[in-house]
């Protein structure tokens, strides 16, 4: 089923919360409002026309100029073939984008829908700083709960992949050396 038809189905079931669609690009995607995203996700997986049972990846993108974060979910539906021997088909490949404000980035977690989302969301928080609410593996931070860090040490400040990330010059006494002391080194 083409992404446009999927967008149609979503529009007439959820109406306002599907804020925008983007099909001319190489990565056709539907934009969903952050607060309605868990219901849409559950619908995408459970609806028998769509059955998007495979979450391929969550990519967090930093739009510094218009002060927004975007979390791009790539989904697909793996359907078994007619008989046991022939191959499963990958259909309904679609991407969903969720915008969130850059200074207070909160997106509800979909780890309860797809178990794969658990680690992807922790990585998105750890590197980009997007806070996923009621994440199964969340930790009490300064401002409320946030997913536990997965790659960086637990007491690391800042989120490295943000465009305006300042390199820490020292961590637990270990000096950091960059070329000509640039804060944002270009290799």
């Amino acid at each position: 089923m083409a992404p446009e038809e999927i967008a149609e189905i979503l529009k007439d079931t959820f109406g306002a919360s599907i804020t925008d669609t983007e099909f001319e690009s190489a990565h056709p995607r539907v934009v969903v409002a952050a607060d309605a995203w868990p219901e849409v996700a559950a619908f995408l997986r459970d609806d028998d026309r769509l059955q998007l049972n495979f979450l391929r990846s969550i990519s967090a993108v930093d739009y510094l100029e218009d002060d927004k974060f975007a979390a791009v979910y790539d989904l697909a539906s793996y359907r078994p073939g007619k008989t046991d021997s022939d191959a499963w088909a990958l259909t309904n490949a679609v991407a969903v984008q969720v915008w969130t404000d850059r200074n207070d980035p909160h997106i509800p977690s979909v780890a309860h829908v797809w178990r794969a989302a658990d680690w992807h969301e922790r990585e998105a928080y750890d590197l980009m700083g997007v806070i996923f609410d009621n994440h199964p593996d969340s930790v009490e931070g300064l401002n409320g709960f946030h997913p536990r860090r997965i790659l960086c040490p637990d007491d690391w400040e800042g989120h490295p992949l943000q465009k305006d990330y300042a390199f820490p010059m020292e961590y637990h006494g270990i000096p950091a050396v960059t070329e000509l002391n640039q804060t944002r080194p270009i290799h």
């Binding site: 495979f54 391929r56 790539d74 797809w114 960086c152």
Partner: protein, 398 residues
């Protein structure tokens, strides 16, 4: 003694004695054991914290990040053709496949894909499949090591040596090739490459049956792997597993069989776990899927080599590869890496340097299932399960 749990009789006069008597069984206190970043069974720097009670592992929590080299941050500072060497170092056992994934993602994004010649596509497929064989040989060897059989490791590396020599004759490197770049391959094949590869394939094919005799159908090996670490098909899809781990659970899904993967004209079948020695989705199934995939790759390479003879003259590197301008658009493209589906999300902003590069590493997704699978297993099984999931830490930590 583990599975024979002697249920002790309830203590009749329990209520008489002091209040702190709770459970009847002998309560040995649990231990937190660090199957630490430095441990022979964890391939590379993976730390698994095991909460054990005697020999029984109650809970296994993997901790990653010890090999994090900020590959994605660097992606935002270099042009695509300069980023290829970084993709080599993600899954360092399958350098060619990583290069292919990133190169095809950028080509699809910039529309360069239509100008790739037929010869380049065939060379890319030959090298990708050879690298798949080399990667599966390493996982077959190290899995034998995890279970205590030292000899298969040496045989696997003896065969892999020939593949690395083939790669070295083509691109000069043995592990980090950077051979497949944006717009084609760095240079054409050396002259006798095709018939030496054919000789290698004839030499290699009977060896796989020898391995099956030596390890796969060895009774002790089956005892150690059958019915251990079972992952059902539904769980595999839910956890986003891919590659031999997904196929081991009975899901017959291979990206190479999907339309638009460039493998349409080759006929090969996809080995799937049938629970031959135990239940579907146990360690043995994942292991046997990898070993039989090597045979399938041999078939593909043979067919690709036959087609290659006809495409002598075509040039294999597109000039525009180095001077690409990325459109202000994004793309997510996946290919079938030996360990699973390696996907690249690339977003350009009009300039030559991408705005965001994210790599979806198959080992990263496959590893998250260890927490669920390693519950209430024996200490020996944890090594078997992590070995069967075949994790490469370079790809997990990026």
């Amino acid at each position: 003694m583990a599975d024979v749990i002697l249920e002790s009789q309830p203590d009749i006069n329990a209520d008489l004695s002091s209040d702190q008597i709770q459970q009847q069984d002998l309560q040995t206190e649990e231990m937190l054991v660090n199957m630490g970043p430095q441990h022979p069974a964890t391939h590379g720097v993976l730390r698994v914290v095991l909460r054990t009670d005697g020999e029984m592992v109650l809970e296994a929590v993997p901790h990653i990040g010890y090999l994090h080299r900020c590959a994605e941050k660097i992606g935002e500072t270099v042009a695509p053709y300069q980023y290829i060497p970084y993709t080599d170092r993600m899954d360092y056992l399958a350098g060619m496949n990583n290069n292919l994934a990133f190169a095809q993602a950028v080509e699809k994004l910039t529309g360069l894909e239509s100008e790739i010649t037929e010869r380049t596509k065939l060379i890319r497929i030959v090298f990708a499949e050879l690298n798949r064989i080399a990667s599966h040989l390493v996982s077959f060897g190290t899995y034998g090591l995890d279970l205590g059989a030292f000899t298969p490791f040496l045989y696997a590396f003896r065969e892999r040596e020939y593949i690395l020599d083939l790669f070295e004759s083509a691109c000069g490197a043995r592990l980090t090739y950077s051979y497949i770049t944006v717009g084609g391959v760095t240079d054409d094949l050396p002259e006798r490459f095709v018939d030496i590869t054919r000789e290698f394939l004839d030499y290699f094919e009977p060896k796989v049956h020898e391995y099956n005799l030596l390890l796969s159908h060895n009774h002790i090996f089956i005892k150690r792997t059958a019915n251990v670490g079972v992952i059902t098909a539904q769980e595999a899809l839910d956890y986003g597993l891919s590659g031999p781990v997904l196929r081991g659970s009975g899901v017959n899904f291979d990206l190479r069989k999907q339309p638009g993967s460039g493998y349409e004209e080759f006929d090969f079948n996809v080995p799937v776990g049938q629970g031959e020695k135990g239940t579907v989705g146990d360690c043995w199934d994942r292991y046997i899927v990898r070993v039989s995939e090597m045979l399938e790759s041999v078939k593909i390479i043979r067919q690709a080599l036959d087609k290659l003879d006809g495409t002598e003259g075509q040039e294999t590197l597109h000039k525009k590869g180095k001077t690409l301008k990325l459109p202000a658009d994004e793309i997510y493209y996946e290919i079938e890496n030996p360990r699973g589906q390696l996907g690249f999300f690339v977003r350009g902003n009009g300039s030559a340097i991408p705005d965001r590069v994210k790599a979806r590493g198959p080992s990263f997704c496959n590893l998250c299932v260890t927490e669920k699978v390693c519950e209430d297993v024996l200490l020996g099984d944890v090594a078997a399960i992590i070995g069967s999931i075949d994790v490469v830490m370079g790809e997990v930590d990026r």
